[in-house]
């Protein structure tokens, strides 16, 4: 068609224009590139020309520098030009395209050569140091002239190249503007084409749309005519139907009245809303007709049926089927009634239910009966006991699950069978007897007997049989309730056994025992009681035990025991009881209340324990204690007195002894001083001996006094800086032994706890001993330190002295005991005894370790060992 042809033409033209545009642009690009390249070339040439000229100038300058200074360093630019100039020139020649420029290059080449020669000549002259010649040459101006000529030629060259470039540039610009015009024109043409194309397409679309609308309108008109015709026909048919309907309605009305007389009737619409009810409906539901119409059956919903029940009902009737069933409804006052219901859907013209007619009959009474019966049945079924119904002949009519469990037979196995199956052979007579009694209308209550299980084993049971009467009151059967009492029988047996065991135990124990009721009435005594008291149960029963009480104590017992009974608390008391031989023995009586779960006392359980021997022992011990205490007090007094005597004795002795001893020493000394020269050596020796003995006696007395004093002094314990104390003691002791080399090492010493003065004495004695017994060593080494042993600090003094034989260690701490001879080491033998006493008074220990000639170590503690 025309349009398609037109479209393709237009598209083709557009494509063509596009191609044209692209071609033009492409051509333009190439031109631009070329122009740029050419420009680059020319710039390159110009640069090179410039470089060449500069190089030459540098060479000249360098050479001038060398001419002036003679320094070869200046010649560097000159040397490089000389070597490279020919190359540069050749390059330029190759690059230049313009003939005129080429000519200039040809001219300049020899000029450059000449210049170089000139330069070289001057350089050579300078090298020879011919300065006059150099000056002359330079003055001649040849060099300058050459340079000027070269510069002129190069300038011309540059100008030509530059002109050529400018020309090319101009050409290029005009090309560009031409191109611009072409592009603009092409664009305009393309736009015009596009507009034209769009316009023609739109025109075509509109025309087609108009055609379609026209066709549709025609079709609709046709349809309308057709439906008008059909409606007319339907109307006619309808009128006919109406007439038929009226007739049948009348018939229905008559039927309905008949129905209303008999049944409860309700009619609902398709949705279940009540459209009509009869009088019976109103009566049973207690609602008025006005209250019911328009409601649906939710009004009388009792809540008894599950949702599924009504769902099933609806699905049945909405499907067009009739539904039968029993429904429980709620009346207006809240009471319930049961109706046997038939629901009939009346289908409409379309085959779907248009109405539902409900016809109901009141069955409330029947339902109640049924429920009651069911409840009773449930009781029988769920009972654990066997409930059996039988005829007067003993044939089983009913057998509940309890009976199945008890006897092992299933219901169907026993129903219709004789009950004698359950009865052991030796008890068959029982059944006859029971049936007779039943026949007479009597009941048999809680009759314990034995019956047989299905598997043959016997069961202990308790049976109750009652007559069943019919409506007229005649006995027509028996109802038997059988309870398995095996458990109970077992429990009773266990109790009996327990009691027996208890009795055995109570009778065999050595104590007297009894059991009383909650009110204190003793109803049982064990055998021992009767053995001891020699009484009879009849005499002892209840409160009879009072007769074996001591009359003096009895009143107190009669206060305490009833009090305990009343309070329900444990009763405990010691009192004498008379034995069979008439003598009284002391008993410790205990009564324990036995309480039930509510805390009420149920029984009393009591014992009486013979404590006569015990009491005696107690009394003996008390007596002994008293005696002992007295003795101790006496002894202590004696000791104190003795101590006091000893004190004053030792004081007096030491004090008074001193005087004469001083006189002995003093006058011996005076004799020596005044008359010594008159005496021979031996005489002087005797005097010396007398003096020394006196001094020794004085020392002994002092030590003895100190030792005696120790016992009396009070011990005041406090914390002692042991290290400080030791240092002080060493200082105090230090002086007499400055002639020997004594190395004393004191380790870290912990704080000790004791009487400072006494502890100082300990250190003094131990350290002076150490110093003394190392007297024979060239170098005395004494170490003082402490360890922790057995939880307490143990101090030690170690020396490398003469030591002692451990075999005699027992004598070490005895008073006046010495393990060395006086000649070897002087001493009174009291020092260590003093140490021992002080340490002991602190509660500590002192001991020593040594070997002969290998030194000794003395250890001591000031407190008790806490660990072994």
């Amino acid at each position: 068609m025309k349009t398609a042809h037109k479209v393709s033409v237009l598209i083709a033209s557009a494509a063509l224009l596009l191609a044209l545009g692209v071609a033009v642009t492409f051509w333009a690009f190439i031109r631009i590139e070329r122009a740029a390249a050419a420009r680059e070339e020319v710039f390159g040439i110009l640069n090179r020309a410039d470089d060449l000229l500069s190089a030459l100038k540098d060479a000249e300058t360098g050479q001038r520098g060398f001419l002036l200074t003679g320094d070869e360093a200046f010649l560097e630019p000159y040397l490089s030009v000389r070597d490279n100039v020919t190359g540069h020139l050749r390059e330029l020649r190759q690059l230049t395209r313009i003939e005129a420029a080429q000519n200039h290059l040809a001219t300049v080449a020899p000029l450059i050569d000449a210049k170089l020669v000139e330069l070289a000549g001057l350089v050579a002259l300078r090298r020879q140091n011919d300065l006059a010649a150099v000056t002359a040459r330079v003055g001649g101006g040849e060099g300058k002239r050459l340079m000027d000529a070269i510069r002129a030629e190069m300038k011309a060259f540059t100008q030509i190249e530059g002109a050529a470039l400018a020309e090319r540039e101009a050409q290029f610009q005009s090309d560009l503007s031409r191109l611009f015009v072409v592009i603009v024109v092409a664009s305009v043409v393309a736009v015009l084409f596009a507009l034209g194309f769009a316009y023609s397409v739109q025109r075509e679309m509109q025309r087609r749309l108009g055609e379609v609308v026209h066709r549709e309108t025609e079709r609709l008109l046709g349809l309308q005519q057709e439906s008008n015709r059909l409606l007319g026909e339907a109307n006619a048919r309808l009128q006919e139907r109406e007439r038929a309907l009226t007739t049948s309605l009348k018939e229905n009305g008559d039927l309905k009245t008949a129905l209303d007389e008999h049944a409860i009737v309700a009619i609902t619409d398709a949705k279940g809303r009540i459209t009509s009810v009869n009088d019976k409906f109103c009566a049973i539901s207690q609602y008025t007709r006005a209250e019911l119409l328009g409601q649906d059956h939710r009004l009388i919903n009792s809540g008894h049926h599950a949702k599924e029940f009504f769902a099933g009902l609806w699905s049945t009737i909405t499907a067009g089927r009739v539904w039968h069933g029993e429904i429980k409804n709620r009346a207006k006052d809240g009471s319930f009634y049961w109706v046997d219901t038939t629901l009939v859907p009346f289908l409409g013209a379309d085959g779907q239910p248009a109405q539902y007619v409900a016809i109901r009959a009141d069955i409330t009474a029947r339902k109640n009966h049924e429920a009651a019966a069911a409840r009773l049945a449930a009781i029988v079924t769920s009972s654990d006991d066997a409930i059996i119904g039988k005829t007067l002949q003993g044939v089983v009519t009913s057998w509940n699950p309890g009976a199945e469990k008890t006897f092992g037979y299933l219901a169907r196995e026993m129903e219709g069978q004789s009950i004698t199956r359950l009865i052991p052979p030796d008890r068959q007579a029982e059944e006859t007897d029971i049936l007779d009694r039943i026949g007479r209308g009597e009941s048999v209550r809680h009759f314990d007997t034995v019956r047989l299980h299905q598997d043959g084993h016997a069961i202990d049971v308790s049976v109750t049989v009652s007559p069943i009467r019919d409506a007229a009151g005649r006995v027509m059967g028996a109802s038997k309730v059988v309870r398995d009492i095996s458990e109970r029988i077992r429990a009773e047996a266990a109790v009996r056994e327990g009691e027996e065991r208890f009795q055995n135990m109570a009778n065999s124990m050595s104590q007297l025992a009894w059991i009383a009721r909650a009110d204190g009435f003793i109803f049982w005594y064990n055998r021992r009681w009767y053995e001891y008291t020699g009484k009879t149960p009849a005499e002892m029963e209840g409160w009879g035990w009072q007769s074996v009480q001591d009359p003096r104590i009895l009143p107190e017992v009669m206060v305490k025991w009833p009090a305990a009974i009343a309070a329900g608390t444990r009763f405990e008391m010691e009192f004498p009881l008379r034995g069979a031989d008439g003598s009284f023995r002391m008993f410790l009586t205990r009564g324990e209340p036995l309480k039930d779960s509510t805390g009420r006392v149920v029984q009393w359980f009591g014992t009486n324990t013979d404590v006569t021997a015990l009491k005696q022992a107690e009394a003996d011990v008390r007596l002994l204690n008293a005696e002992l205490e007295q003795r101790v007090a006496e002894r202590t007094a004696e000791l104190l007195a003795a101590n006091k005597e000893l004190e004053s004795f030792s004081y007096t002795v030491s004090h008074d002894l001193r005087g004469p001893v001083r006189a002995i020493d003093g006058f011996s000394h005076a004799a020596m001083e005044d008359f010594g020269t008159l005496l021979p050596d031996e005489g002087r020796r005797y005097l010396r001996i007398i003096r020394e003995s006196a001094l020794r006696m004085g020392a002994l007395i002092d030590d003895l006094l100190a030792f005696a004093q120790l016992g009396r002094q009070d011990l005041t314990k406090q914390a002692i800086d042991t290290a400080d104390l030791v240092r002080t003691v060493l200082e105090e002791l230090g002086s007499p032994w400055t002639e020997r080399e004594v190395a004393v090492r004191v380790d870290a010493l912990p704080v000790s706890f004791g009487d400072p003065a006494l502890v100082k004495q300990v250190w003094i004695n131990l350290l002076s001993n150490a110093l003394k017994y190392t007297g024979k060593r060239a170098r005395a080494e004494i170490e003082i330190g402490s360890t922790r042993r057995g939880g307490v600090d143990t101090f030690f003094v170690r020396d490398n002295g003469s030591g002692f034989d451990l075999r005699y260690a027992g004598k070490l701490f005895g008073v006046f005991q010495r393990l060395h001879r006086d000649q070897d080491f002087e001493g009174t033998g009291v020092g260590l005894a003093i140490v021992h006493r002080i340490v002991l008074r602190h509660g500590g220990r002192v001991w020593a370790d040594a070997a002969v000639d290998r030194g000794a170590t003395f250890f001591f503690t000031l407190e008790k060992d806490t660990q072994p």
Partner: protein
Amino acid sequence: MNSTAAPELLLVEDNDLDLELTLRALRQAKLANHIQVARDGVEALEFLFCEGPHAGRRIADAPKVILLDLKLPRVDGLEVLKRIKADPRTSTIPVVMLTSSKEQRDVLTSYQTGVNAYIVKPVSFERFSTAVRDLGLFWLLLNERPATG
């Protein structure tokens, strides 16, 4: 032993032997010139308070030091000390207990009563004489006394 000049040292000692040894020691120390000896507490007090045989003395001419033994017949050392220290005329006289007793009880009581020094007589004569000499030198030569009269 009593010289014409006022005695500078009063020695109260009952024991003959101790007395002799003490005087010997003082002599050796060149302090023997001005010693007054009393054999018991009564003599000591008579001397100090210018009574009895010493009635002609002036109390102000008191000795520079008194060496006093504790154990004295008739009136014992402690009693003498009390009397000396109780009377303002004599309380400034330094008293040195020179006794055998080491008893703490005695030391304490003496100091509480106001004794100026307490020396226990050593058994060794050498030590004894050194002690006496030191005592003498100290109390007679070194120690300052308040001015009398």
